[in-house]
Amino acid sequence: MSGPTRRVALKVVGATLGAGAFAYAGRPVAQWAASVDIDDLLRRHYKELTADELAQILRRIEDETQKKYGVEVRVEDIPAQDGVSFGYALNLSLCIGCRKCAEACHHENNHDRPTNNSYIRVLEMQQGSFDMEHGTVDYDHAVPAPGKYYMPVQCHQCDNAPCVKVCPVEATWKEKDGIVVVDYSWCIGCRYCEAACPYHARRFNWRAPEIPADEINPDQGYLSNRIRPQGVVEKCTFCLHRTRKGLLPACLEACPTGARVFGNLLDPASSIRYVLEHKRVYVLKEELGTRPRFFYFFDK
């Protein structure tokens, strides 16, 4: 074989191998790109949608849930009510650390089953200490244990929320009833909010949630418990799909000791107002200036 011919042959072989390598390596990216939903990709922010556009999006989410999870659900957009500002209080004298609240949250909010996700973490604390360094979430024995008290922690719906401040795309914001929500269809998954939250209140969907069809809660809110897409952040919304309709949060209903008190801070006759006015309440990490709407108190 002469020199130039060999060189040409080498170049052809090299180019073929190179093109093959590119095609092979790039295939997963290409497949992912092909799976991206164009309507979802191009839609605008929740606050910019007209009523019609929002209605269409809700129907689309219902259809997709049907296709992906094989179950018929109803996804609603439930706006905040005028004259309502939610607050939550937890009686640490009554909490026995049974974690029924965390379990109720898991089911109500359509959490991923294999990871047993929940918006509530219950800490077993050492009597005589407020220091969480001496607490643990990994307790596995009969409760309540002697010498311990229990402190469930969930989103505090802060009025000065660090998570809302840091979001680069306004995918999370505070509603007028005080609830901090996430538009799962706008979040870019940077997880800056997760780093910013001092209460470990946010979760990321490290993969698409897995839930058996018969366990899916079909009553869903667009900004709350609809099944979240992969790659976005989620959080507790005080069960706004329930509470904005006058129901109580699922965690409160599940509590066997009545340790949880929820209500409208603007209603002088509400039980949450009674607690705030008559008990010595405190908030977690008050020194950070986050101004939580979630209060703790002891009553004995």
Partner: protein, 429 residues
């Protein structure tokens, strides 16, 4: 086919077709990027292969979700953001060539300053790569574009970082591109077209790393980061890793014979490093003192990082390696031998570069999350996919740097010139 640049035909009047000259400039640059010795091809093939491995890993991450990383809701940023942070420092560190060249009129540095500007471009590309790799939904990237998505400026520090990094990229692309284009045309660069941008780039370089530090140091819930000393430390480490990398790069460039220059720039950069390595160690000591002498919650992350806590020690080998390398580089830089022996200098630079890489990467990002805000100790070590993607992004950065230097230096030294360009006199247009 006749090559328009290499023909000896009488040149067209330049005033008639400036656009055409620019197209020829781009085409000359493109051809130069794809031709070279077998060494060049081998180097580019290896880098491309690594980049493709990274691309493949990223594709799997896109499909299966970020469960393929070992990040968790406890340690929600890992290797990607660690590398991003270091990359910003590298980009900012390149300004240590620009300041002597333009603020102190160091003529030796002026001869090689283009290398710093090209390095900044490649380093910013690396940073953008790591940000994209870390995003759960890169398909929604447009949401963060100012004017197009919903840009949460000025409240979110991340939006400031978008402006700072992309602005720095554009400024450096303009400066390097303009200087190269003028050399290509055989014309002296006009000061008003680049000097204001050079001074802007100096301030901007400081800002990119300050803003990146503010991302972390503004979080009240993360005591390990919530320190006013973070931004100064970021700058000090940037002015270690940047000069260290450039010193090695200058040796490579000189060895390749593509540019001849004196020892002045290397001496200047070494002097800068002698100051910054000590400054960094001093600030580290100050942070350790504050945390450990005071004790309490603020010390928890520092204790975990340096000694382990609750029986968990994943970061301990990382940080002691970093401290050892940083101290070694400081000692080496002050040895008289390092002034005369290149190998000792290069060893000092390697120690400094790797030391800062670990300290500012894994040693800075991970302890921010351990213990968690509810004081749970959940550890993190990167997964294979994370290492693949990380290697891929760095390989992409080196590809960009190699091509930029190859084309840039050929234009800079007059090897690639427009047909109608006047001949160079004494290495200047």
């Amino acid at each position: 086919m006749a090559d328009p640049v290499d023909t000896v035909a009488p040149p067209a009047p330049p005033s008639l077709a400036p656009g055409l000259t620019y197209l020829r400039f781009l085409s000359a640059a493109l051809r130069r990027s794809f031709s070279g010795s077998w060494r060049f091809y081998a180097w580019m093939t290896v880098l491309t292969a690594i980049a493709l491995v990274g691309l493949n890993g990223w594709g799997h991450q896109l499909q299966q979700g970020m469960q393929v990383t070992r990040m968790s809701d406890h340690v929600s940023w890992g290797l990607y953001i660690a590398n991003f942070t270091f990359g910003v420092g590298l980009a900012a560190g390149a300004v240590m060539m620009v300041i002597p060249a333009y603020l102190y009129d160091d003529h030796d540095m002026h001869d090689v300053v283009i290398i710093g500007e090209l390095l900044a471009i490649a380093a910013i590309a690396v940073c953008i790569g790591f940000i994209v790799a870390d995003m759960g939904r890169p398909d929604r990237m447009w949401h963060i574009l100012p004017g197009i998505g919903r840009f949460h400026w000025p409240v979110s520090m991340l939006t400031w970082d978008v402006l700072a990094l992309n602005g720095y990229l554009l400024i450096n692309l303009h400066i390097a591109g303009y200087l190269m284009y003028q050399r290509y045309r055989g014309k002296a660069p006009r000061k008003r077209w680049y000097l204001p941008f050079v001074f802007l780039s100096i301030g901007w370089a400081i800002s990119i790393h300050t803003v990146t530090a503010f991302l972390y140091q503004g979080l009240g819930g993360r005591p390990f980061w919530n320190s006013a000393l973070l931004a100064p430390r970021f700058l000090a480490t940037a002015f270690i890793s940047g000069p260290a990398f450039v010193i090695v790069l200058l040796h490579v460039v000189r060895w390749s014979g593509r540019l001849t220059f004196g020892d002045g720039p290397i001496r200047t950069l070494t002097s800068i490093m002698r100051v910054t390595v000590l400054l960094n160690l001093f600030m580290l000591m100050s942070e350790l003192f504050t945390a450990l002498y005071t004790g309490g919650a603020h010390a928890a992350a520092v204790k975990y990082l340096f000694f382990g806590s609750h029986g968990k020690h994943a970061l301990v080998p990382y940080i002691w390696t970093a401290v050892t390398l940083n101290v070694t580089s400081a000692v080496l830089l002050f040895l008289p031998r390092t002034r005369v022996d290149r190998r000792w200098l290069l060893a000092a630079c390697a120690c400094a570069f790797v030391g800062v890489y670990i300290e500012k990467g894994m040693g800075l990002i991970i302890p921010g999350f351990v213990p968690s805000t509810l004081h749970e100790v959940v550890e993190y070590t990167p997964s294979i996919t994370e290492w693949k993607v990380t290697a891929g992004v760095w390989a992409l950065g080196l590809l960009i740097l190699t091509v930029a230097l190859k084309v840039g230096l050929a234009m800079w030294t007059g090897k690639v010139r427009a047909a109608d360009a006047p001949p160079m006199v004494d290495g200047a247009p």
